[in-house]
């Protein structure tokens, strides 16, 4: 047998299978006679906003001066008050000398604006990031408590981890918002971030615990035998090594958190998922929107995976 077998037949097979799969879906969609409206999607990323400029008094158009793509319209009110409005040149509605009444549209200001899909993505990202930071702190403390010799600390840690891992995140979010949020008068963002952080924190705690326990006992013994105390041993010897080990699962947890954060849309936080739902109500482009939303999540998570992969290689120097 040769050591290197040919890979291209398998790659070809993969492509064929994917194509067949795609064709199958395509055929199924054709059958239900769905009307695709992809052209409606881009405006939810970026759109040209047209804001009407209206005259605030009764008066006349004194002069119009072109400045590049814009036009400066000088308005003169009945009691000789002057006002200059700048509008897009191609949207101008008036001519010099026209008589206007209060509220008449002079023209439009055109401006590119970021659409709800991008805003939603941004919300998803910052909510995930803030939750991750809290989850990391919480998970680190809980993980340490979990392996401490103090029975009370250990008990608290175990209770927390078991409660979180034994209940669905969706229910936790409901409890955080409808129960805790009401009792303590918390905003929906606080509830959403809090629920996500508590949820991920429990999993981070288990990762941290496993990571620390995977460091050979000899490391602790060597550090302690040199006279280092418990905290110095943790901070200088155990945690740096443990972190290298738990980087991949930790990164996986945070990537999961980005996906799990879609559940906060149920308490009306306008994240990427909620934006998608809102867009569907105005476009009825259900298939397109959900596919686009999925691809956006996929892009974010795969970029992060790549970053983590790269960092792992950088960290592997001393092994």
């Amino acid at each position: 047998m040769k050591a290197t077998t040919k890979t291209w037949p398998w790659k070809l097979l993969l492509v064929v299978i994917l194509l067949v799969f795609a064709a199958g879906i395509w055929g199924a969609v054709q059958k239900i006679d769905y009307h695709w409206r992809w052209n409606r999607i881009p405006q939810y990323f970026l759109y040209l906003d047209e804001e009407a400029q209206k005259i605030p008094f009764d008066g006349t158009v004194e002069s119009i001066r072109k400045v590049g793509d814009d036009a400066e319209v000088t308005l003169l009110s009945d009691n000789s008050q002057r006002l200059v409005q700048t509008v897009a040149a191609d949207s101008i509605n008036v001519d010099e000398g026209d008589l206007l009444f209060e509220g008449d549209t002079v023209g439009f200001v055109k401006e590119w604006r970021i659409g709800p899909l991008v805003y939603g993505l941004w919300t998803t990202l910052w909510i995930s990031a803030v939750s991750s930071v809290f989850a990391l702190i919480l998970g680190l403390l809980t993980g340490l408590a979990r392996i401490s010799n103090n029975l009370t600390l250990r008990g608290i840690a175990i209770t927390y981890v078991e409660c979180i891992r034994g209940t669905p995140l969706l229910v936790q979010i409901f409890i955080a918002y409808f129960f805790l949020g009401t009792v303590f008068d918390l905003s929906r963002n606080v509830c959403g971030i809090g629920a996500l952080a508590l949820f991920a924190g429990a999993y981070v705690a288990e990762i941290v615990r496993a990571g620390i326990q995977a460091i050979p006992k000899g490391q602790t013994e060597a550090a302690r035998s040199l006279g280092m105390n418990v905290f110095q041993t943790m901070a200088d010897v155990i945690l740096p090594q443990a972190f290298k080990k738990i980087m991949p699962p930790l990164a996986g947890q945070f990537i999961s958190l980005i996906k799990d954060s879609s559940l906060v849309s149920v308490i009306a936080i306008t994240d990427l998922t909620k934006s998608g739902r809102e867009i569907i109500t105005s476009t009825f482009a259900t298939f397109e929107v959900w596919l686009v939303v999925a691809v956006m999540y996929l892009l974010v998570t795969s970029v992060l995976s790549q970053v983590v992969f790269y960092m792992e290689r950088r960290f592997a120097v001393s092994d």
């Binding site: 050979p216 000899g218 490391q219 013994e221 060597a222 550090a223 302690r224 035998s225 040199l226 006279g227 280092m228 105390n229 110095q232 200088d236 010897v237 740096p240 090594q241 290298k244 120097v317 001393s318 092994d319």
Partner: protein
Amino acid sequence: MIKTENVVKVFNTRSGVVRAVDRVSVEIAKGEVVVVIGPSGSGKSTFLRCINGLEQFSEGRVIIDGVDLTDKKTNINKVRAEVGMVFQQFNLFPHKTVLENLTLAQCRVRRRSQKVAEGKAHGLLQKVGIPDKAGEYPSRLSGGQQQRVAIARALAMDPKIMLFDEPTSALDPEMVGEVLDVMKQLAREGMTMVVVTHEMGFAREVADRVIFMDEGKVVEVGTPEHFFTNPREERAKLFLKQVL
């Protein structure tokens, strides 16, 4: 320098209670080199670990340089800074370079400045014969080199006592010599040493006293000449027959 009085260490294992160390009383003077030998499982490591409090003993007293380890007021970290320990598996910090391995505890425990600690570290690396490996990570070193770094790391704290737990057992045969040479030099310089080892040649050459342990108890104590030529105890005779 070291005094143990009726030290007992009991392990509660699934298969029952193990008296790993059973009423061991020894007194070791300053500058003395004591070699502890005995069959596997006889409690040598456990006894050694009781001396620096790595193992919490169940009964008895250990007094290091006048400090009683059982005393509640004793700061065990202070004591450990004075008692260096070298392990069978080296236990170097793999995420730190050789130099950082040597400076970490100096800075944290002895509160030395980075510069002073590094000066000390370089001097010790010279002494153990690997002055050019300061920047390497431990995984790049041979077993013998790693163990010498481990010895240097312990020495960097300027300990009064050095404990060795089978420092050459994990080494390839050709590397045993270089580590023993470092230990011999240390003994010549007057370091108080307790060495658990199966290197009978080393015991013969360097030890002031040999302690033979079996089943947690000190069975026989004596000078190397006495011990290796005509031991009193049957168990010691049997053991020597097997290892020599």
